[in-house]
């Protein structure tokens, strides 16, 4: 019983395979013919006019892209210019004459305790500040020298003067005109952080840059 059933199944399978072959034969004979015949003329006919149009379109596209790039570049440039202008924050201090501007793009530098030499990483910051100042030759700045609260107020005034002047000398050495930079020492009188610990002190030993005129 089991063997007979198998034969029957095998017989059925054989039939299906045969039918499939026949179908495939028909496809192989008929279909390729049709497609080759149809496709060849269509490609050849379209070739000439498309090239003309595409050339024009490509040229146009290229011009458009160039223009876009130029606009983008200009916008970026303007944005960057605006970034500096936008970064300017007016600062008016009670009891001190005049208004100045601060910019986050002009970065503070810091100092070791009782020292006024520019450390290498702060020299990098000064270079960035100098690059910015080179782009805006009208800008005049004031460098504020600050100290932490330790030590006497008067000696810290001397130290702050020296710190501000150290940064000025550096900026002049990389090409910023000396008459664009003034200095002022606030000693320990204007701490950035009011704390009484090393963290606060490290922040307070700084040169801060303000813009006197833009």
């Amino acid at each position: 019983m089991i063997i007979e059933q198998r034969r029957f199944i095998m017989g059925k399978k054989g039939l299906v395979v045969l039918v499939l072959f026949l179908c495939m034969g028909l496809l192989l004979i008929g279909c390729p013919k049709k497609t080759v015949v149809k496709e060849e003329p269509s490609v050849k006919k379209a070739e000439e006019p498309v090239t003309e149009r595409e050339k024009a379109a490509a040229a146009e596209k290229e011009a458009r892209e160039k223009e876009l790039a130029r606009i983008r570049e200009e916008e970026a440039k303007r944005a960057k210019e605006k970034e500096f202008e936008k970064s300017l924050v007016a600062k008016k201090e009670p009891g001190i004459e005049g208004e100045v501007f601060e910019s986050r793009l002009l970065k503070d530098i810091n100092f070791d305790f009782d020292k006024y030499d520019i450390r290498p990483k702060d020299a990098e910051i000064l270079k960035e500040n100098a690059a910015l100042l080179s782009k805006y030759p009208k800008v005049k700045i004031q460098i504020e020298g600050h100290c932490d609260e330790r030590g006497t107020n008067e000696y810290n005034l001397a130290l702050g003067e020296r710190r501000a002047n150290a940064a000025k000398k550096y900026l002049v050495s990389v090409g910023i005109a000396t008459d664009r930079i003034s200095i002022i020492s606030y000693g320990e009188e204007k701490p950035l952080d009011p704390g009484h610990n090393e963290e606060a002190w490290a922040k307070n030993r700084r040169d801060h840059f303000v813009i006197l005129s833009k």
Partner: protein, 433 residues
């Protein structure tokens, strides 16, 4: 200031028992025991308001305590010995006071007379030797009550120590007010404090003119540390110098003709001399160091200052023409803010010890270094009283910075002001009239 401020009050009479003047207290001794002085309540005569008498008593008691030489024994018992015979009190009544425990007795009375003038009368007795030392009577408008009491306290100090006290002096200092620092002045006892500036700026390093009438200081009003001058009563505020850079830490020469100060005309701080009107700057220091905080010797011949020319801030002295520079301090790696004593023999300064700042004094030849504050907050900015017996300084030992005074040897340190804190940079006036 009120117009009668400058009107002197009168010394009406003096009773000085003729005897060899005896100094009860050698305040220059390295240690001394405070003299116990009995201070009974003052007597109110006629229709004088009792509150006025009480005020006299309180100011006097506080003055004598602040003077640092006395242990004041308050006594509520009324003095019965002012029954004078020809101005001299009856010393027989002294016996009853010897049991109180004092060596000196100070009694007095207050009287408002028919001219509405206040009359203050006092007598000083030696209880050990049972004798009268001095008696004086002052008359003046009641508005001068405090000044009159200070004069009495000064007289007591003179009688018992051989030198007039400094109770009629004033102290200028920097006072933190909101975000600004203002110049303030108070009496020696911390009373009568008033702001001379109210400009919200940074006003720093007040110094008195030698005549005690004006104060010079640095202010950032015009976005530069410039020098300004103001009368001690707050009048006539005016700018004195505005050289580019620092115009800071002014110090008048004793003759009042010149000023030494820190100036930054060359991009770093140097010591300069200028005329009293701010002209003719002359640079005194040379070299590459930071120079700060000049202070004159009382004879005007030398100037002490700070310099970091050796690599760390140290005290130096030089001739007032910049010649003959000598290094004074060698101990420690941070010595700053010198103040030359009015007697000329010592210089007080601020030095760093184990991260803290302490007050030191040193002989002008570098000998006899003495540390006068110890392990109590950070102490800065010493300045001498005009008699050289006290030093005022600022300390944060109670939290915020306050002005303290102490005897020059470090004894009896106490805060001067009852203010909230934020006071610094004291400067002591001369003895005022």
């Amino acid at each position: 200031m009120k117009k009668y401020f400058f009107l002197p009050f009168l010394l009406l009479w003096v009773v000085n028992t003729p005897a060899e003047a005896r100094v009860y207290l050698d305040i220059n001794a390295p240690t001394f025991v405070q003299i116990p002085i009995v201070l009974p309540k003052w007597k109110t005569v006629n229709k004088t308001p009792p509150t006025m008498t009480a005020k006299v008593y309180d100011i006097l008691s506080n003055d004598l305590t602040l003077a640092g030489f006395f242990k004041v024994i308050d006594h509520s018992r009324f003095p019965s010995l002012l029954k004078e015979k020809e101005g001299i009190p009856n010393s027989n009544a002294l016996q009853e006071w010897t049991t109180v425990g004092g060596e000196i007795l100070l009694v007095g009375e207050a009287l408002l007379n028919s001219n509405s003038n206040l009359i203050l009368k006092f007598h000083l007795f030696d209880l050990v030797e049972q004798k009268h030392l001095v008696g004086k009577q002052y008359e003046g408008p009641p508005q001068l009550l405090r000044k009159m009491v200070h004069r009495i306290a000064d007289e007591v100090v003179l009688q018992l120590t051989g030198e007039r006290g400094v109770l009629n002096t004033k102290i200028a200092f920097v006072s933190l007010q909101g975000g600004g620092k203002e110049i303030s002045v108070s009496d020696f006892d911390g009373s009568e404090a008033r702001l001379l500036t109210q400009n919200q700026s940074l006003n720093l390093s007040p110094t008195w003119t030698p005549d005690g009438k004006k104060i010079v200081f640095t202010s950032y009003l015009r976005r530069n540390p410039d020098l300004y001058l103001i009368d001690a009563d707050g009048q006539n505020f005016r700018r004195l110098t505005s050289y580019p850079g620092l115009n800071a830490a002014p110090a008048w020469s004793p003759d009042g003709k010149k000023m030494a100060l820190m100036m930054g005309m060359e991009g770093k701080s140097d010591i300069y001399l200028i005329d009293a009107n701010g002209n003719n700057p002359k640079k005194l220091t040379t070299g590459h160091g930071n120079e700060a905080s000049p202070t004159w010797s009382p004879d005007g011949k030398r100037i002490a200052f700070v310099s970091d020319r050796s690599g760390s801030p140290q005290i130096y002295t030089m001739g007032s023409d910049g010649s003959d520079v000598r290094r004074l301090t060698f101990e420690g790696s941070y010595n700053s803010k010198p103040s030359w004593s009015p007697k000329g023999d010592r210089i007080a300064y601020c030095g760093r010890v184990e991260g803290r700042y302490e007050i030191f004094t040193i002989g002008v030849d570098g000998s006899a270094l003495q540390r006068v504050t110890s392990n109590s907050g950070s102490n800065e900015s010493p300045c001498w009283s005009p008699d050289g017996r006290y030093i005022a300084f600022s300390s944060n030992r109670l939290g915020g910075s306050k002005v303290f005074i102490m005897n020059a040897n470090g004894f009896n340190q106490r805060p001067l002001t009852s203010a909230k804190g934020g006071e610094s940079s004291p400067a002591w006036s001369r003895q005022l009239e």
